[in-house]
C-alpha cells in the first residue's frame, strides 16, 4: 500500500453534524487548515432531525431565568452521574453560544418583543425545582436542528472550511507511542483510500441509535467514531445509558418532539386517561424522558395500551387548535400525516418509546480531549484525539439527557474543542509520524472485507444485531435476558468477522460502507450489552427489574468499558462545580 495518497491538515474533524461543524467553524476562523470529513453531505447529518429546540437560560421567556437553575435541572435529570463541572460549563457558556448562532443567522422563532422564542420542555424548573415549570428551550418552530445545522454549514462556507463530503473514516491511525495522528479514509465516490495526517483528530460522529431495530435515529447513525475508538483500544463511558424517547411514531419510529407536550399536548391510554398524572403528579407529561418512557411501557404492560395489540399509547394535540399546530409544530403535522396517516388537529398520534440518544460515549474533559485510564484508574489524556457531541461523554447528560440539551451540548463543546485545539496548535504539538505498520493495522479491517470471498450477507446480520439489542436491552432490562443478549452478540461477532462483502466495486459502493458500519454497530452493541449487564442498579435510562433501585453506594459512578479485555471499570463523577456548591444526590421525583 505504499502508493496510498496522504493528505495533511492541522485538524481533521470526522463528522459534519452540529458539533463537528461548530468545532470546524472555530478552527477555520482561526486560519488553521481544517477539514471536515463526512460520510454524507453535511446538511444530511442527523442534527437536521432535531425538532424542539436548544435549551439555554437566555432569559427571554423569563427575564429572571438563571443558568444555575438550568444546571440544577440537568444534574437532576442525569440522575446525578453527570459531571457537575462540565454541566456548569455548558449551562453558563450556553447563552454565549446561542447568541452566536443567532448572529450567524439562525432563524429562531420570536416573541412579540423580538427576543428568541422559548418553550417549556421536560425536566425544566425555576428556582432549583421550587418555582414550577420553566420555558427554556429556544426554538425555530419545530425545525430547530435543521435551522441550526444549515446555519453552521453556511458559516463554514463563509469561512472556507475544507469539506471532504461523502468520505468515510475507516479507522484511527496511532503512532508507536499510542498517540492518534490521523485516520484512514475512503472517498465513497471513487473508492480511493487515503491516509489523512493531522495533529488533532476530532470524532464528531454522533450516536449509534441504529444498534436498535426501533429508533428515531437516521440510517447513518452507526456509531462510527465509537467503533473506531474501541478498535483502537480506547475506552467508552456510560455506554449502557440509552435514552428511549417517549414519542416515536408507532410503527415508523420517526420522532415527535417533546415540544408537543411543551406546547400543551399530553399522552393518553386506551381509556383516554391522562396517565402521566399518576406517575408524575407535578411535572406530568413533562417529567424526565426516562420517567415518561417507563410510565408508557407500564401502561402498555398493564393492558391499557391502544390499538388492536394494545402496544402503544396516544399523543393528544387536537385541543391545541390548528393555529398553534401550524405556527409552532408544522413539521409534526407533516410527519404525523405521512407516517401515521393522522391529522393531529383532529386525532391523537399513536406513539411508543423509541431509542433516541446515546448518553455515553468517549470520555472527554471540557476541552474535548479524549481520556483513557492508566493502570491505577487515573485519567490520562489521549494525545491527538478529541471528541464532541453525541459521540463524546463529557459527561453532561449522565444517565438521562434532558430534551433540548443535546443541541446545546453540540455547540458548546464543539466550540470548546475548537478553541482548545487552536491554542494547542499555536503552542505547538509534535507527535511521531505513523509508521507503515501503524497504517497497515488501521487498514486491516477494510482489507478483510475487500478480501472476503464468502459468508453471510450484511443486511441479515445487521437485522439480527438490532433485534437482539431491542429484545434484551430495551426500556426495561433484566439479568437473564441481557446474558442471553451478550451471548448472541459474541456469536454475531464471529459471524460478522466471516461475513461477505459481495460488491467490491469502487464507484459509490454503499455496500462497502454498510459493511464497515456493521463492524461499528457491533462494537457499540457489545460495549452497551456488557456495560448494561454489569451496572447492577437502576439509574436514569438504565432500568432493571432485578435491581429496581438506584445504588449510590456502589454506582454513583461512571462506567468505563475497556474494549481490550471487555471489562467494565468505574470512574469518579465530578461533583466540583467551580462557582457554586455541589448539587448533592437526592431522590429523583417529578
Amino acid at each position: 500500500m505504499s502508493t496510498m495518497r496522504s493528505l495533511t491538515f492541522d485538524a481533521i474533524i470526522i463528522g459534519g453534524g452540529g458539533s463537528g461543524l461548530r468545532a470546524a467553524l472555530e478552527l477555520a476562523k482561526s486560519g488553521k487548515k481544517t477539514a471536515v470529513l463526512s460520510k454524507v453531505f453535511p446538511t444530511r447529518s442527523h442534527t437536521v432531525s432535531a425538532q424542539g429546540g436548544i435549551t439555554c437560560a437566555i432569559a427571554s421567556a423569563d427575564p429572571n431565568d438563571d443558568w444555575r437553575w438550568h444546571m440544577y435541572d440537568t444534574v437532576k435529570g442525569s440522575d446525578y452521574i453527570g459531571d457537575q463541572e462540565a454541566i456548569e460549563y455548558m449551562c453558563s457558556e450556553g447563552p454565549k453560544a446561542v447568541f452566536e448562532l443567532e448572529h450567524m443567522g439562525l432563524p429562531f422563532s420570536r416573541f412579540d418583543n423580538g427576543r428568541i422564542y422559548q418553550r417549556p420542555f421536560g425536566g425544566q424548573s425555576k428556582d432549583f425545582g421550587k418555582g414550577g415549570q420553566a420555558a427554556r428551550t429556544c426554538a425555530a418552530a419545530d425545525r430547530t436542528g435543521h435551522a441550526l445545522l444549515h446555519t453552521l454549514y453556511q458559516n463554514n462556507l463563509k469561512n472556507d472550511t475544507v469539506f471532504l463530503n461523502e468520505w468515510y473514516a475507516v479507522d484511527l491511525v496511532k503512532n508507536a507511542s499510542g498517540d492518534v495522528v490521523g485516520c484512514i479514509a475512503l472517498c465513497i465516490e471513487t473508492g480511493e483510500v487515503v491516509h489523512i495526517k493531522s495533529k488533532a483528530t476530532v470524532l464528531a460522529t454522533g450516536g449509534a441509535g441504529r444498534i436498535f431495530s426501533s429508533t428515531t435515529n437516521a440510517l447513518i447513525n452507526t456509531g462510527d467514531g465509537i467503533g473506531m475508538a474501541l478498535r483502537a483500544g480506547f475506552p467508552v463511558q456510560d455506554i449502557e445509558m440509552w435514552q428511549f424517547h417517549p414519542t416515536g411514531i408507532y410503527g415508523a419510529g420517526v420522532l415527535v418532539t417533546e415540544g408537543c407536550r411543551g406546547e400543551g399536548g399530553y399522552l393518553i391510554n386506551k381509556d383516554g386517561e391522562r396517565f402521566m398524572e399518576r406517575y408524575a403528579p407535578n411535572a406530568k407529561d413533562l417529567a424526565g424522558r426516562d420517567v415518561v418512557a417507563r410510565s408508557m411501557v407500564m401502561e402498555i404492560l398493564e393492558g391499557r395500551g391502544c390499538g388492536e395489540n394494545g402496544d402503544h399509547v396516544m399523543l393528544k394535540l387536537d385541543h391545541l387548535g390548528e393555529e398553534v399546530l401550524h405556527k409552532r409544530l408544522p413539521g409534526i403535522v407533516e410527519l404525523a400525516k405521512t407516517f401515521s396517516a393522522v391529522d393531529p388537529a383532529k386525532e391523537p398520534i399513536p406513539v411508543v418509546p423509541t431509542c433516541h440518544y446515546m448518553m455515553g460515549g468517549l470520555p472527554t474533559n471540557v476541552h474535548g480531549q479524549a481520556l483513557m485510564q492508566d493502570a491505577d484508574g487515573n485519567d490520562r489524556i489521549i494525545n491527538g484525539l478529541f471528541a464532541c457531541g453525541e459521540a463524546a461523554c463529557v459527561s453532561v447528560h449522565g444517565a438521562n439527557r434532558l430534551g433540548g440539551n443535546s443541541l446545546l451540548d453540540l455547540v458548546v463543546f464543539g466550540r470548546a474543542a475548537g478553541i482548545f485545539i487552536e491554542s494547542a496548535l499555536n503552542e505547538g504539538v509534535d507527535y511521531l509520524d505513523a509508521a507503515q505498520s501503524d497504517i497497515d493495522s488501521a487498514m486491516a479491517r477494510m482489507n478483510r472485507w475487500n478480501e472476503s470471498s464468502g459468508g453471510e450477507a450484511i443486511p441479515a446480520l445487521r437485522a439480527e444485531l438490532q433485534e437482539t439489542m431491542q429484545t434484551s436491552f430495551g426500556v426495561f432490562r433484566q439479568e437473564d435476558h441481557m446474558q442471553e443478549g451478550v451471548k448472541k452478540l459474541a456469536d454475531l461477532r464471529e459471524r460478522i468477522a466471516n461475513a461477505h462483502l459481495g460488491d467490491k466495486s469502487n464507484a459509490f459502493n454503499t455496500a462497502r460502507v454498510e459493511a464497515l458500519e456493521l463492524d461499528n454497530l457491533l462494537e457499540v452493541a457489545e460495549a452497551t450489552a456488557i456495560s448494561a449487564l454489569e451496572r447492577k442498579e437502576s439509574r436514569g435510562a438504565h432500568s432493571r427489574y432485578d435491581y429496581p433501585d438506584r445504588d449510590d453506594v456502589n454506582w454513583l459512578k461512571h462506567s468505563i468499558y475497556h474494549p481490550l479485555d471487555k471489562k467494565l471499570g468505574k470512574r469518579d463523577v465530578n461533583f466540583q462545580p467551580k462557582t457554586l456548591d455541589t448539587f448533592e444526590p437526592k431522590v429523583r421525583t417529578y
Partner: protein, 236 residues
Amino acid sequence: MSMLQVSVYRYNPETDSAPYMQEFQVDTQGRDLMVLNVLEIIKQQDSSMAYRRSCREGVCGSDGMNMNGTNGLACVTAISDVTKNGKLVLRPLPGLPVVRDLVVDMGIFYKQYERIQPYLQNDTTAPAIERLQSPEERDKLDGLYECILCACCSTACPSFWWNPDKFVGPAGLLQAYRFLADSRDTATRERLSELEDPFSVFRCRGIMNCVAVCPKGLNPTRAIGKIRELLLANAT
C-alpha cells in the same frame, strides 16, 4: 404475496458502457411502503444497488429521485402515490451527471447554492444578546428557510437543465431570497447586484415545475418573483 414490479435505472461506470433499466419484483406484503423501503428490499436482493439515504423522514434531503417521472423524496413518497399500472419506475434526478445507479453528482447544484452567499451578512456590531426581530419580520422567512437542498426542484427545471452553470436554479434562488428577506441582513444591495444579469434569476420562465415537486411544499417561483420586484425597485 403482493408483488410490485419495480424498474430501476442502473449504471456502474466501472462495468457498464451504458445505463440500462433493471426489473425487480418486490414483495410488499400488501403494505403501502415508502419508495425508500422498496429500495431497501431491493438492496437485500442486490447489494450493488446504489442510492443515497439518511434520515428516512424527509428532512435531510438525501434521497431525491425521479419516481414514475416525478421528482420527490423516496422516504416520504408512498408507493400508492406514484405507482402507475402496478409499476414503479425509479430514475436518478434528471439533468445532473450520474455517478452510479440513482446517485447523481450534485456538484453544480451546490456550487449555485454557494454562489448566492448563503449566510447572513450584517456589518453592524452584534449586541451582547441576540439581534431583535419582530414575529412579523420572522414570518417572512417561513417558506424559505425550510429548504433541505434535495435538488428535486432544480433538477425538475428546464432552465436549470440548459444552463446549470449560469442559472442559479430554484433552490439557490429560494435561499437568495431567504437572506434578502431577513431583517437582520444588511447586504441587500450587494446581493441584488450579483443577480441582475440575464441568467442568474431571469432564466426563470415561471413554469412552476419547482413548486409542483417540492417535497417541503415550498414555492421558489414566488421567491423568484419577489427577487425580481426587489431588483426592479432597486434599479428604477
